[in-house]
Symmetry: C2
Subunit: 506 residues, 2 copies
Amino acid sequence: MTLTGGSIVAAALSQGTGKYFWANDPATDEQLQPAFFEASEVQINDAVEAAENDFDRYRRLPFAQRADFLTAIAEQLRIIEGDVIVRAQRETALSLPRLQGELTRTVNQLLMFAAYVRDGSFLHCNIDPALPERQPPRPDLRMTQVPLGPVVVFGASNFPFAFSVAGGDTAAALAAGCPVIFKGHPAHPGTCELAGRAIARAVELCGVPQGVFSMLQGERHELGAELIKHRLVRAVAFTGSRIAGRALFDLAASRPEPIPVFAEMGSVNPVFLLPAALAAWKTELACQYAESVTLGVGQFCTNPGMLFAVAGPDLQAFTAAVQTRLEQLGGGVMLHAGIKRNYQTAFDILSERPGVEILSGPGEQAGCRVSPALLKTTAESFLSDPGIAEEVFGPSAIVVACRSMEQMSACAGALQGQLTATVHASDTEEDIARQLFSILERKAGRLLLNGFPTGVEVCSAMIHGGPYPATTDSRTTSVGTEALQRFLRPICLQNFSSGLLPGELQ
Amino acid sequence: MTLTGGSIVAAALSQGTGKYFWANDPATDEQLQPAFFEASEVQINDAVEAAENDFDRYRRLPFAQRADFLTAIAEQLRIIEGDVIVRAQRETALSLPRLQGELTRTVNQLLMFAAYVRDGSFLHCNIDPALPERQPPRPDLRMTQVPLGPVVVFGASNFPFAFSVAGGDTAAALAAGCPVIFKGHPAHPGTCELAGRAIARAVELCGVPQGVFSMLQGERHELGAELIKHRLVRAVAFTGSRIAGRALFDLAASRPEPIPVFAEMGSVNPVFLLPAALAAWKTELACQYAESVTLGVGQFCTNPGMLFAVAGPDLQAFTAAVQTRLEQLGGGVMLHAGIKRNYQTAFDILSERPGVEILSGPGEQAGCRVSPALLKTTAESFLSDPGIAEEVFGPSAIVVACRSMEQMSACAGALQGQLTATVHASDTEEDIARQLFSILERKAGRLLLNGFPTGVEVCSAMIHGGPYPATTDSRTTSVGTEALQRFLRPICLQNFSSGLLPGELQ
């Protein structure tokens, strides 16, 4: 499939003019063809206006047709699977099995939303029938939900499929009935174009209004800002760094008419090993932990970058085993030069904090290649410097030695918002685990017992979210069926005749 | 009951020192005793810290005990009913039947939340059981919700019970499991003290942790800002003016750790009369409309301050009948001098806009007394100056004459966010009504057919909310059972042993 280097405006290729940029192969530092054109102001405006103009027609389609459209996107992704995976591999240096798995996950996610939308139950209707005899009489009141309007989606470099053009946020917004303007990720523009064209073909095949989907290429920061400030945009979904997420949140909050920003900004995903669990399972926990930390070269928002345990011989043995296993696992190629640079900088800042000791560093390697890093510190150091819990995005972990369970609880209490928090406990430690979870419940969106947080299941009970700074809205999830609720708002219909009620309220 | 003039910190009277202020009787301009002390920084901090310290104990109480607590508050309000209504009448000049009705509504609201909380269904749990045979295996995943933490509530002057100390926001937050710090309303501080003491007694009787409730008196703007900026505060609920609501929203969004602000800021609640409905029912519609506009001296956020109809003899007759009925109904005493001043200023600004004509003005009367006002304009004028739809809080209405149904639709499309929007249609006008509602659905939280928006039913299907500037979060309601969802966030428990699962997930 030949790439055009253009954007997609209202489900049609739109070549663009003016400035352009290229993708790089992070494994070879080779510039990849073709050049991609920066979306222009005209393209931005055309995309948003088309979204607004076609919003009403799209949201009024029968739910079955909306579901068919999501299914068609999934099918179109399968059709281009071979080509898009080859291009994604060049642009991200992620492994073939990893990309195959991610594409399957992305396809299944679209199918999950299709099934959820088809029956209408996602609207969570409430009905309070009229009480004409009551004094004063109660009118008939029926609650349903309506979509918000055009949604701008920003993808993440670490998931070129599942959190990109046809990823979870796009699927959730389309499922909710909102048109999507996707801001292409400059680290994988070719992957974006192929996935965008797949969606455009699904638009055509299903006959849904074309304004429902646009994808704008660009590496200028202003592109995102212009989209968020556009008066017709109604909500924003974002996955990426805290700095970028907060900047978008601030822009949206300062609009004359503020709009919600659902930004997922990552975290250190603390893991707590209780003493008996550590004693009994230290060798296998060390292996599993090292594997979780290095999975995908550590480039997961759910990467468990911080581990707490009570100091002693067991923790020493565990830490040594983690180090050994990390060395065996080795490093890998990060997604792009910027991510590698940030990994090294964040590691350097962390390693220079008082009380932090390096066990192994990220190495000095050519191109985007890095090694896993392991550090250690004490609970005292963390408690006096919470900056030790700042995320190092990449295959890096810090082990925090606590003097006692009380101190471990104090550390849990000192954490900021997290996507996940994990406790490993033996059968005899249920009471301590309960106490710890009672603290962690206020810190994280997902709590795990005896597992590792990488690997986010896409299902109805999943919460991929958490208190700030993990996200900008702790009351939502960006993965799972409930992710579509972000793009809906409730309305109440009072005293409507049955002819005027929408199908779900009949 | 003797008023102390103090605040309530952690369910105990806290006298205060330093600056003080008085309430006024708006009907007589008499200063009411006693003096009320401005809450100090120490009291603010004590209240928030007590809320945080007791949060965990409170949220872990069995739901039945939380429900008993809400019921006890309702009972305590009934016990002081006589005293609190007398004081509220002096402080607000609202009529006795109105205040009695509002107290009953407030009591019923508490009982509604008690019933909703008792069975645990409000948590909207999802369960995805483990699939150990699947490749890769799926762990057990269970979703429930947890309360956010300490909530600051700002009440409204126009509802001294239902949107004040023991009103809907307090009830919803307490029902969700969140401690409440109520910022006392300076226009009815005595009513606040009495209601606050009723809650404090319920705290004592039920043995719930004392930090769960505080009420801080004050007329300084800084009091609200200090509360919102307090690092331990987790959410804000507000009912009042757009300027104040937006200021609180901006403060909360600019915190290092942003928190949600659920501000309900009112609207003009447009009413659309379709031609056949106008022709058939003009006389009764005029009476009902005038009564809705003047109810409670027009001091309702759901006051229908703007009406659209197609120009012609029917509209002329309707408008004349409204004017006559408004004159019959006469004016009343507004809640306080500031509200009267704002009413007159907003009326003056509106009446001086191009194309706006005064039919009757608010009059020049002593004290807080005002007359109802009626204005008219054309759709052309509104479409070229959307400022004509700015709310005039009080018994004021503007009739907008449209040249055609198309122009009426254009006016609907030009409206900003509203709490409600109403269409009056005859049986033969269902298609036009459907078209109009399809536009209004994007504008308002509640849509009414053949009714008037004043009178907000407290039930499970109610939405008292809407797009900005009606509220700062269109995805929520501040009235009805779903109002408690604002104070919850979802969490996912992965691979939890049954001993660790909370009751609702067992």
